[in-house]
């Protein structure tokens, strides 16, 4: 096991720079999730870590050793691909033991680690099968087994669950979390699914446009997003954003309500779960319920707020509301986020 250091890492294709000065330290045994929208450069970064993409500039180290020019086979890493990438002409056992086979370890020596990994992943009875005779979930397990048998310094996962159905995804997520707890191997995991990121990560790296937006624990990102992009990307449903006007009295909402805060603030962010739903008379924002989504544990109330626009409130449990009902909304003051015109976070009054 080993930590990783990414120093001013850059990647260009011809004249087009797609990753800009990536700075990141990954501690030994840490589970880091790279998350961001499609095309943000997260998979490219992972492939640079794997050695599958040349590094244009900067320096990359694993366990203190410079890796920029080291080919993938000598980086001592294992990767689980989105497509699983199982060798179709080899049995499950041979797929899993391939890294040892290519290093000319005798067959007898390969059996132990393959059997152990197969037991862990519940693949014992499938060892003689070929990939085409496996279900999606089983293929995913074999891909993970192959990585485990490799016994690497670091695991790399490239959107490993995105081809699975929702139920299987939850199951495999749990499996990956358990695996990391048991092995404690440094892991870099790429996903565009923020639930995967929030549930698996020790730290999340949010990327957009080839730039790291914020690095932090899941709760740091949720509670103190560094900018509007992170605020909107982390958390489901998405954070409400309200335009503000600043005047001598402080910050003024579209409906005229005032809030204390810096005069430069341009937008206020409030998560749906931090908007209290109250009676029309009690609220600081008057609104009309439009769509009500009952999820059982929670209820999403989409409202049209006067002078503001669409606002979503998330309420625990069920609420007795019908579309068209008048409601009041109250902002939890200690849960307000303020952003300037460029989207950077501003200090709040609380």
């Amino acid at each position: 096991m080993a930590g990783m250091e990414l120093r001013a890492l850059r990647k260009s294709y011809g004249g087009l720079e797609v990753l800009h000065d990536i700075e990141l330290s990954i501690a030994d045994g840490e589970f880091v999730v790279l998350v961001g929208p499609s095309g943000c450069g997260k998979s490219t970064l992972l492939r640079m870590i794997a050695g599958l993409e040349p590094i244009t500039g900067g320096e990359f180290r694993i366990g203190g050793r410079r890796m920029n020019e080291v080919p993938p086979r000598d980086r001592d890493i294992a990767m689980v691909f989105q497509s699983y990438a199982l060798y179709p002409h080899m049995s499950v056992a041979r797929n899993m033991g391939f890294s040892m086979e290519i290093r000319r370890r005798p067959a007898a020596e390969r059996e132990g680690p393959v059997a152990a990994a197969a037991r862990t992943l519940g693949l014992d009875r499938l060892l003689e099968r070929f990939p085409k005779a496996l279900s999606g979930g089983q293929r995913q397990r074999v891909a993970m087994g192959r990585a485990i048998v490799r016994d690497p310094q670091a695991f790399l996962f490239d959107e490993p669950l995105s081809n699975l159905d929702a139920a299987l995804r939850v199951e495999m997520r749990l499996e990956i979390a358990r695996l990391h707890q048991r092995l404690g191997t440094t892991t870099v995991y790429v996903t565009h699914d923020q639930v995967e990121a929030m549930t698996l990560a020790d730290r999340i790296v949010v990327m957009n446009g080839g730039v790291i937006q914020q690095v932090g624990t899941p709760l740091e990102l949720y509670d103190r997003p560094a900018n509007r992009f992170v605020a909107q990307f982390i958390g489901s449903p998405t954070m409400n954003l309200l335009d503000l006007a600043a005047d001598a009295a402080g910050l003024r909402l579209g409906n005229g309500a005032t809030l204390p805060g810096p005069g430069s603030a341009a937008q206020l962010g409030i998560r749906p779960e931090h908007l209290e739903l109250v009676s029309a008379e009690e609220g600081e924002i008057a609104a009309q319920a439009q769509v009500i989504e009952r999820l059982g544990s929670d209820t999403n109330v989409f409202t049209e707020a006067e002078g503001i626009g669409l606002l979503l409130a998330r309420v625990h449990g069920n609420v007795d509301l019908r579309p068209g009902d008048r409601v009041g909304l109250r902002l939890m003051r200690d849960r307000i986020h303020l952003f300037d015109a460029e989207g950077a976070r501003l200090p709040t009054a609380h």
């Binding site: 599958l52 199982l86 391939f98 290519i102 081809n163």
Partner: protein
């Protein structure tokens, strides 16, 4: 479910009848070849278009094998076709892999140039080829045919191989490279076994093309020792007559290697080897 999808028997019978009719149509010339090869010389014209020969004989085969130079032509053809197939497939596989996997300067130009070579009618370039081969002293040698056939088959074979490599996910060799392979090892251990259908198809295609090529063989070979079988067949045509029976017997014999070759490679031609490699 199966009961719901059962096709009416009449439709099944109709389908088989249509297939049988097509197969009979396609195989009829081959049957006619065999029929005339087995008909005694004296009866070839008197039998006319009768479907069955009134008498059978193996004399034509005996004459062709033991009393003509056919076996020498046959050996020359085997040497030329096998060498051409092997050389072309090797080069085309390497080129196809490069086109499929690497981005390099001038790639588009090379592809365009290779396409361009396929646009000229062979008759147009036969004279310059003759001059070139003569200049390097390779006239009347099997080497000249191997070189020329290989050169002419490489572009198409390369595109064929490229399409096979394109069908194999890159993830597979990347996974192999992470598992500990060099690129060459990944190619040999992971990609090549999956390309066997492609290699089989290319080998078969090039072998057949070289086996039946007449134009270059006719122009570049004059000596009896270096003649290939298509040119050799013409020796059964003399100034005053055509030896139909022997010519057809030679034709039947010439079919044997092609059939054997396809029998050998057909198991590699089965598609679907990569299923299960990636999501699905």
């Amino acid at each position: 479910m199966a009961a719901l999808r059962r096709t009416p028997p009449a439709l099944v019978a109709g389908k088989y009848a249509a297939i049988a009719a097509y197969v009979a149509f396609a195989l009829f010339p081959l049957y006619w070849l065999l029929k005339i090869a087995l008909t005694p010389d004296a009866l070839i014209f008197s039998d006319g278009t009768a479907l069955w020969p009134s008498e059978l004989t193996l004399d034509n085969f005996r004459t062709v094998i033991f009393q003509s130079d056919f076996m020498a032509y046959f050996r020359n053809s085997v040497i030329v076709s096998l060498s051409t197939a092997a050389a072309t497939t090797l080069i085309a596989a390497a080129a196809g892999y490069a086109f499929s996997r690497f981005a390099f300067r001038g790639k588009r130009w090379v592809v365009a140039l290779m396409l361009l070579t396929q646009m000229f009618p062979l008759l147009m370039i036969i004279a310059p080829i003759y001059k070139l081969v003569a200049a390097i002293g390779l006239l009347n040698s099997l080497t000249s045919l191997i070189v020329v056939y290989t050169a002419f088959n490489i572009p198409f074979a390369t595109f064929l191989m490229q399409s096979f490599f394109d069908g194999i996910p890159r993830d597979l060799e990347e996974a192999a490279m992470i598992d500990g392979c060099t690129r060459l090892q990944a190619l040999r251990v992971v990609i090549l076994p999956l390309t066997l259908p492609g290699l089989g198809a290319t080998l078969g295609f090039v072998f057949t093309a070289a086996w039946s090529e007449l134009l270059f063989a006719l122009m570049l070979i004059n000596s009896n020792d270096a003649m290939t079988f298509p040119v050799g067949l013409l020796t059964f045509v003399s100034k005053f007559s055509v030896d139909w029976g022997q010519m057809m017997a030679a034709g039947v014999l010439a079919l044997v290697p092609s059939c054997l070759f396809f029998l050998f490679i057909q198991r590699y031609l089965v598609q679907g080897l990569t299923s299960g490699a990636v999501k699905g």
